[in-house]
């Protein structure tokens, strides 16, 4: 026999409670669902829950997007958070996910405005969040490359850290991110100073944001997508020396977790 589920009255009570939490104004003191007791009005009692829900949402968003909050200031961040919550209320019991849709929402909300670049900054901070919660794999040594047959080396494929995130931007993204870190005073960045692409990776117990040249970004993106070394060079239109330099950096930063030779792939 199936177990009884919540009856209508419990469901309706929770819906009624939810309406008071979402409401812009204080609830009525005359709602017969609720009881005091005592002299504190029911509306003030319910306001505790209304404020909690808003504060928990806003705080979770601020934890995920500290650089963006610092850049735009508390008041504008609060306004954005309020609008975002209406469009994207929390859908999970784990507050970590509250900010997942924030970059895409900002992109629409701020399109054609002077703040359009904030969407890219949000994408970078969400990438940091993803990296901070993804398992880091044991890195490979660059000796794994030199062990391959030189004749077929260019057909080798690299496996990169699963947490590695690449963020492309038309704005000086890395410079803005760097200039708004909490440990030093914020600096103004000329938003017309050109595009900067970023890679985000987890190293030891921290998250590192790298600034990449357009060529390095293209090379790394191709390698992450599973291209061979030769294919990556072709797609990026890069010189072989550029690949050699990028590989040296990627191994040194422990971003490579495996090297697959052409024979192994066959």
């Amino acid at each position: 026999m199936p177990r009884p589920d919540a009856g209508t009255s419990l469901l309706e009570l929770q819906r009624s409670f939810a309406r008071t939490i979402r409401a812009a104004a204080l609830a009525s003191d005359d709602d017969a669902t609720f009881a005091g007791p005592g002299a504190v009005p029911v509306s003030e009692r319910l306001a505790v829950y209304r404020n909690n829900a808003w504060q928990f949402f806003q705080n979770a968003l601020a934890l995920t997007y500290p650089v963006l909050k610092r850049r735009v200031g508390d008041d504008y961040f609060r306004q954005l958070a309020h609008e975002y919550r209406i469009a994207h209320p929390s859908r999970r019991g784990d507050l970590h996910w509250v900010g997942e849709s924030f970059p895409a929402w900002l992109e629409q909300r701020l399109a054609q405005t002077e703040y359009a670049w904030l969407a890219d900054l949000a994408r970078l901070e969400w990438a940091c969040e993803v990296v901070a919660t993804t398992q880091t794999e044991q890195h490979a040594d660059i000796a794994a490359l030199s062990a391959l047959d030189p004749v077929t080396l260019d057909r080798a494929v690299l496996h990169l850290q699963p947490a590695l995130q690449l963020v492309e931007s038309s704005w000086p993204l890395w410079s803005v991110w760097q200039a708004n870190q909490a440990q030093h005073e914020a600096m103004a960045i000329d938003l017309g100073s050109g595009p900067e692409n970023c890679a985000v990776a987890g190293v030891d117990d921290g998250v590192t944001v790298y600034r990449l040249t357009a060529v390095d970004f293209s090379l790394l993106g191709s390698l992450q997508a599973g291209s061979s070394l030769a294919q990556a060079v072709s797609v990026a239109g890069a010189a072989p020396e550029a690949l050699a330099r990028l590989l040296g950096w990627a191994f040194a930063e422990r971003l490579v977790v495996g090297v697959v030779s052409p024979s192994a792939r066959a």
């Binding site: 177990r3 009884p4 589920d5 919540a6 009856g7 009255s9 419990l10 469901l11 009570l13 929770q14 819906r15 409670f17 939810a18 939490i21 017969a32 669902t33 609720f34 009881a35 005091g36 007791p37 005592g38 002299a39 504190v40 009005p41 029911v42 003030e44 009692r45 319910l46 505790v48 829950y49 909690n52 829900a53 928990f56 949402f57 979770a60 209320p89 929390s90 859908r91 999970r92 019991g93 784990d94 507050l95 970590h96 509250v98 990296v131 901070a132 919660t133 993804t134 398992q135 880091t136 947490a163 987890g202 117990d205 921290g206």
Partner: protein, 276 residues
């Protein structure tokens, strides 16, 4: 789980706790903070787990929600339980989501027969899924329901009886409810089945002025006040020595402050033990 007092593992102490390994009986962690496959926080708990027994405390499942239980959330709880092998697993006697919208708060249930049956059925579902008993914690509340027909103690006792769960007794929540809702704490303690109480929480609260009156807000942001320590003594006399957590989640102080509070809880337990 040792009866010696424990402390919560919070991000403010992610560096200090594994380095200093303070002498406390156990640590508590919020389950939802360890839902991920990896990252620095996971590694800190893995290291801490080598030195301490663990209690995993969930804050986001919303057991009493009328919505179907969030199976993805429950899956992640099971993953965390398998990974960290806690001695105790706990949730709250609350609801948290309706029609798919989560409020990420511990929202109160009416103390009705319908809510007892609903909560007990959800607890059974969770226990069956996890393959183990869970503890259910009493809430701090700011509003009561006109339709409630049971006392809070009788409500929780009925949930225990119908689900086989244990109880996590939050003494500060009982104090807050006594102030906010007129809860009779002696009667509340008396209604709870003694063997069911397997963990105790102690915390501080703040006061919110509303006209001539005030509500106590359960914010876990200060030291355990004297009045809550006094109730803790009463709880130990009724329930015996129970693993006790110093719960401090906002404005988290230095690690040694938490440890000092845990020492105070230990000293009180030893006094009560010696006197009985």
């Amino acid at each position: 789980m040792p009866v010696r007092a424990g402390i919560g593992l919070r991000s403010a102490h992610h560096e200090a706790l594994p380095r200093e390994l303070p002498e406390v009986g156990w640590i508590e962690a919020h389950t939802e903070n360890y839902f991920h496959a990896g990252g620095p926080g996971i590694r800190v708990l893995e290291r801490a787990r080598e030195s301490y027994p663990l209690s995993l405390h969930g804050v986001g499942l919303g057991l009493g929600s009328a919505d179907p239980i969030d199976m993805e959330h429950l899956d992640r709880i099971r993953d965390a339980v398998r990974r960290f092998e806690p001695a105790l697993v706990s949730e709250h006697a609350c609801w948290g989501h309706v029609d798919g919208e989560h409020f990420n708060d511990l929202l109160p249930l009416p103390h009705t027969e319908e809510a007892v049956e609903h909560l007990a059925s959800r607890v059974r579902q969770v226990q069956d899924f996890l393959g183990r008993q869970v503890l259910v914690e009493n809430l701090s509340s700011y509003v009561a329901f006109a339709g409630s027909r049971l006392s809070e103690g009788d409500f929780l006792a009925a949930v225990v009886e119908r689900s086989g769960c244990g109880l996590l007794l939050d003494v500060n929540n009982a104090y807050v409810n006594a102030h906010n809702l007129g809860l009779d704490v002696d009667a509340f303690f008396a209604a709870l089945p003694v063997p069911a109480v397997q963990e105790i929480h102690l915390a501080g609260h703040s006061r919110r002025r509303i006209g001539e009156h005030e509500l106590l807000i359960d914010d876990h942001g200060s030291a355990v006040p004297d009045a809550v320590w006094a109730l803790y003594r009463s709880a130990l006399r009724r329930f015996g020595p129970v693993p006790t957590l110093i719960e401090w989640d906002t404005a988290v102080p230095a690690l040694e402050v938490l440890v000092a509070e845990a020492r105070r809880a230990d000293a009180i337990r030893e006094q009560i033990d010696a006197a009985t």
